[in-house]
C-alpha cells in the first residue's frame, strides 16, 4: 500500500484545491484558434477516424476529431498530435540524388530524368520483370491505383506489391477463400449491437484505441456483453475480457476447431443457416474439394476441447466456455488483426474465424460479423480494392485469370491479351530478387528497411550496386533513405487531396488544408511525371490530379462488386465518409453486405435473405483446415518465442510518431517484455539489459518484467529504428497469402 486511506483522502483534498489553482502547468497553453477547419482522415491506423484539421496562417495548428464520422469526434493521442508530425523540421523539401555514397540535393529535373532513364534502361536491357513498385497502405487510393496502372498496364510489369502484404494479405486470403470477395461484410456500427466479442490476435486497446473505446463503452453500458480475448499476452484488451485464453502462440487453429467441435457437440450450431448458405470444402492434393457437413463433423471429431487444451495450454473448460459464449449470444462480433494475419497459417486462421460465424449463423446481421481490423489507413481502400498487389487487378480481379485480365484490358483500352499474364513477385520475393532479377525499384510511402522481416537479409540486397532504388518519402530520417539512389520529397497527408478507405469499407476524402514545405510535391504528380518520362502511353494516364484519377477509378468500380460509383468527389467532400457498395449518387452506403435489403449488390427480389455472390454457388465456404504449427518452434537452443507488435502511442516504424515530443518522451526506446517467472529464473530484473538471440541476429533491449507475456514468450515492439527488432524475425511466409510470420520465432533470452 502506498498510503493509508485517510492519507489518500488528504491527497485528494489537496489536489482538489491545487486543481483550482492550475498547479505547475504555468499558463494554460494559448488556445490557438484556427482560421479554418478542413475535414480529413487520421494518418495513422486502419480505424480511419475522421479528423478536422485546424489551419492557422497556412500551417496546421491543431487536429481534432470529426464529430460526424464514426469516431464521433474522438481521437487517440497519436491522431490528436498530428500537427507536430506535419510541421516537423525533419521533412524532406528537395529531391536528393546519391552521389559518391551520400545523398545530395538535386533539382526535380535531375531526379526525375535520372529515375526515368534508369527505369527505361532496365526495361530495355532486362525486360518488365526487372522493374518493380513497392507501395503502401498509407498511400492515397489515387496514388496506388495510378502506380498499379502505370506498372501493370503501362510497363507490363506485375511486380507491384506493397506493405499490405506484411499486414493484411492473410485477411484478404481469408475473405476471398470463404466469401469469394474481399473486405469485411460488417461495419464498426456492429460494435454497438454485438453482445459477445471474440477478439483473437488483436491488442485492440493499443493498436485501435478508438475502436477499443467503443467496445469498452459498449460493455460498460450493457453488463451482459461478454468479451472473449485470445492472446498469449495479458494485454489491456485482455484485462477487460470476461474470458482470456492465453494460448501458446500459433495454436489458434486447434483452438478454433475445438470451439467448432463444442458448438456442434452442444447443438449450438444454426443448421438452418449453414444448411442453406454454406458449402463445406477442403483442399485435397492442392485442389478444393466439396465436402459434406458429416465430413466436417468427422474432421472436427479430432479436435476435442481436451486435445486442443493440451496443444494450446489453456484449460479445456475455457475452450468450452468460449464456444458457448460465442454461440449463445444474440449477436457475436469477431475482431482480429496481426495476431492471425502475420502467420504462415494466416489464411487458414482467418477461414476458421469465418467458420465459427457461418456454422452459428452469426453473420451478416447487426452485431454479428467477422471483422478483420487493419493496421494502415488505406490498406483496404487503396491497395486491396485497387488490386495493387502482385497477383491482383482492380476490383478483386486476379492476374492469373484470363477473363479478369481481358475485362481490365477492355476497361483500360488495351489490346486483348496484352496484360502480362504472370503474377509478379510478392514483397519478400521482390526484395530477395533486388539487385539480381529486379534491377530498378520505386518505393512509395513506406519504410521497408525497417519493416521487412529478417530485415538484414533484405538490406544486404538494398546495398547492392546492381540495383536502382527511387523512393517517394516525406521524412528525412526514414531508415530506407540509407539505401535510396533517388529520393523524391512528397507532400504529406493533408498537403494534397485524396481518398482513404478504412477498415470498414468507408471511403473518406482528405481535403487539402495546407501547402507542402519546400519543393515537396504530391505523389500523384511525381508518379505522372515519372510515367511520362518513362514513355508510358499518355492515353493511359490522362490525369492532371488525384480528382481525375478518382473519376476513372469510380467508373471502373461499377464493373465490380466493389461498386462505389455513387461516391462522387462532391459527395465525399460533403460527407464524413461513405461505405461501399454505393452504386448510385443517392445510395446511402452499405452497412451489411450479402444481405438482401442492405446490400445493393443483392437483387431485391433474390429468393434468399443472404446471398454470398462472390462464390459461383452463392454460398460461403466453411473450410476444413487442420492444425499446423508455426514455421519456427522453440527448441533447446532457442527456448523462447519472440513476438513483435506495437505500443499505444508509437505507430509502425515511428517515422511519424517520433516527431511528436510527447510521444518520443514517453516511448523513447524499444524494450522487451518478459514474464516475471522467466525473469526470476534467468536473473533478470526490471530495467536490466536483456540479450535476444535468434538464428538471424541478436539485439540487446531493456527488460520490462511483468505478467503480460505468458511464460516462455517475450514481446518487443518494432518502432525503434535504433533497435531493429525485425533483424530477429523470421521471413517464412504463408503459402497462400505470402504474408510473413512476424509473430512467431524462436529466441534465446539471456541477461546482457
Amino acid at each position: 500500500m502506498g498510503c493509508t486511506r485517510r492519507e489518500f483522502i488528504k491527497y485528494s483534498a489537496a489536489m482538489a484545491a491545487l486543481t483550482f489553482l492550475g498547479y505547475g502547468c504555468g499558463r494554460k497553453e494559448a488556445e490557438a484558434t484556427p482560421d479554418t477547419w478542413v475535414k480529413g482522415v487520421c494518418r495513422f491506423c486502419g480505424t480511419g477516424c475522421g479528423v478536422m484539421v485546424g489551419v492557422r496562417n497556412g500551417k496546421v495548428a491543431m487536429v481534432k476529431g470529426d464529430p460526424n464520422n464514426h469516431n464521433k469526434g474522438m481521437l487517440c493521442l497519436k491522431g490528436a498530435l498530428l500537427a507536430s508530425v506535419i510541421n516537423s523540421p525533419d521533412r524532406l523539401t528537395t529531391p536528393l540524388i546519391r552521389k559518391g555514397g551520400t545523398l545530395v540535393k538535386a533539382t526535380w529535373e535531375e531526379a526525375l530524368d535520372l529515375t526515368a532513364t534508369r527505369f527505361k534502361q532496365t526495361l530495355e536491357q532486362f525486360g518488365p520483370k526487372a522493374v518493380a513498385y513497392y507501395g503502401s497502405g498509407q498511400a492515397l487510393t489515387e496514388e496506388s491505383y495510378l502506380a498499379n496502372k502505370i506498372f501493370k498496364a503501362g510497363l507490363k510489369s506485375n511486380n507491384v506489391d506493397g506493405n499490405p502484404r506484411l499486414c493484411m494479405a492473410s485477411a484478404v486470403g481469408g475473405y476471398v477463400s470463404t466469401f469469394g470477395k474481399d473486405e469485411p461484410m460488417g461495419s464498426y456500427e456492429d460494435m454497438d449491437s454485438a453482445n459477445c466479442f471474440f477478439i483473437i490476435g488483436s491488442n485492440t486497446s493499443e493498436c485501435h484505441p478508438i475502436l477499443f473505446r467503443r467496445l469498452a463503452a459498449r460493455k460498460q453500458s450493457d453488463p451482459s456483453v461478454k468479451i472473449i480475448v485470445v492472446d498469449p499476452r495479458l494485454t489491456n484488451t485482455a484485462r477487460i475480457a470476461d474470458l482470456h485464453l492465453p494460448v501458446v502462440p500459433g495454436t489458434d487453429l486447434a483452438l478454433m476447431n475445438a470451439m467448432a467441435h463444442v458448438i456442434f457437440n452442444e447443438e449450438l450450431d444454426d443448421s438452418k443457416f449453414h444448411g442453406k448458405y454454406v458449402s463445406f470444402k477442403a483442399m485435397v492434393d492442392g485442389k478444393p474439394v466439396e465436402k459434406s457437413l458429416e465430413d466436417y463433423r468427422t474432421f472436427l471429431a479430432d479436435y476435442t476441447p481436451e486435445k486442443a487444451a493440451a496443444i494450446c495450454s489453456v484449460p479445456a473448460e475455457s475452450i468450452v466456455q468460449a464456444a458457448k459464449l460465442f454461440a449463445n449470444s444474440s449477436a457475436t462480433m469477431s475482431l482480429w488483426c496481426m495476431g492471425l494475419n502475420q502467420r504462415i497459417q494466416g489464411v487458414w486462421a482467418n477461414n476458421l474465424v469465418h467458420n465459427l460465424h457461418l456454422i452459428t449463423g452469426k453473420i451478416c446481421k447487426p452485431g454479428s460479423t467477422s471483422f478483420s481490423l487493419t493496421g494502415q489507413p488505406n490498406a483496404c481502400g487503396g491497395v486491396r480494392d485497387t488490386g495493387s498487389l502482385a497477383h491482383l487487378l482492380p476490383g478483386g480481379r486476379l492476374i492469373a485469370n484470363q477473363e479478369h485480365r481481358n475485362q481490365m484490358e477492355e476497361i483500360w483500352g488495351l489490346p486483348k491479351d496484352s496484360l502480362n499474364p504472370a503474377p509478379g513477385l510478392f514483397t519478400t520475393a521482390m526484395f530477395a530478387a533486388l539487385g539480381d532479377t529486379v534491377r530498378a525499384m520505386l518505393v512509395l510511402c513506406t519504410n521497408p528497411a525497417q519493416s521487412l522481416p529478417n530485415v538484414k537479409k533484405y538490406t544486404a540486397n538494398l546495398k547492392k550496386s546492381t540495383k536502382f532504388l527511387a523512393i517517394i518519402e516525406a521524412f528525412a530520417d526514414a531508415e530506407t533513405l540509407k539505401y535510396a539512389d533517388v529520393v523524391f520529397p512528397a507532400a504529406f497527408w493533408c498537403e494534397r487531396e485524396g481518398v482513404y478507405g478504412s477498415g470498414e469499407r468507408r471511403y473518406c476524402l482528405i481535403e487539402k488544408a495546407v501547402a507542402s514545405p519546400g519543393e515537396a510535391r504530391p505523389s500523384v504528380n511525381i508518379l505522372l511525371d515519372l510515367a511520362t518520362r518513362m514513355g508510358v502511353d499518355p492515353k493511359l494516364i490522362p490525369f492532371k490530379n488525384s480528382a481525375d484519377i478518382w473519376e476513372e477509378w469510380r467508373e471502373i468500380s461499377a464493373k465490380s462488386a466493389y461498386n462505389f460509383k455513387g461516391m462522387t468527389r462532391e459527395r465525399l467532400r460533403k460527407t464524413s465518409g461513405l461505405l461501399w457498395p454505393c452504386p448510385t449518387e443517392d445510395h446511402p452506403g452499405t452497412k451489411i453486405r450479402y444481405s438482401r435489403g442492405d446490400d445493393p449488390m443483392v437483387p431485391a427480389d433474390h429468393p434468399d435473405k443472404y446471398f454470398f455472390y462472390g462464390n459461383p454457388n452463392g454460398r460461403a465456404n466453411v473450410w476444413l483446415r487442420p492444425h499446423k504449427p508455426a514455421a519456427e518452434l522453440p527448441d533447446a537452443e532457442y527456448p523462447f518465442i519472440l513476438t513483435t507488435g506495437r505500443v499505444i502511442d508509437q505507430w509502425h516504424t515511428g517515422t511519424m510518431t517520433n516527431k511528436v515530443p510527447e510521444i518520443r518522451k514517453a516511448f523513447p526506446a524499444a524494450f522487451v517484455e518478459v514474464n516475471q517467472e522467466d525473469a526470476k529464473r534467468l536473473g533478470i530484473a526490471n530495467g536490466d539489459n536483456v540479450r535476444l538471440d535468434t538464428r538471424r541476429g541478436s539485439l540487446v533491449l531493456s527488460a520490462r518484467v511483468g505478467e503480460v507475456c505468458r511464460p516462455g514468450l517475450v514481446f518487443a515492439p518494432f518502432y525503434d529504428a535504433q533497435k531493429l527488432v525485425n533483424e530477429l524475425t523470421v521471413d517464412a511466409v504463408d503459402e497462400a497469402s505470402k504474408q510473413p510470420e512476424f509473430k512467431i520465432c524462436a529466441v534465446r533470452v539471456s541477461k546482457a
Partner: protein
Amino acid sequence: MAIASFIIHTTRQDLAGVKASLSQRRDATILPWESPPCLVAVIERPSKELERVEREFKATPGVLSVATAYLNIEDELGGEGAK
C-alpha cells in the same frame, strides 16, 4: 473526522506571514502557492468545527478570502450513512 481543503487567498507581501501563522495550527497542512498568492490548507477536524475553522482562517491577519475546495465526511457517517 472530516477532511477538507481550503484555498486561502492573500497578497504577495503577506504570503510568508500568513503561512507562518497558519503553520502554527496542529490540525492543518499548509501548502503555499506563489501565483496567485495563496495557500492551500488541508484540515482534519470534525465537520461541526469546520465552520469555525473557516472563520479562524478569515480572521488571520493578511487573509483576503477563504474558499472551500474539498470536503469528505465519509468517515463521520460511520453506521449512520447506511441507515
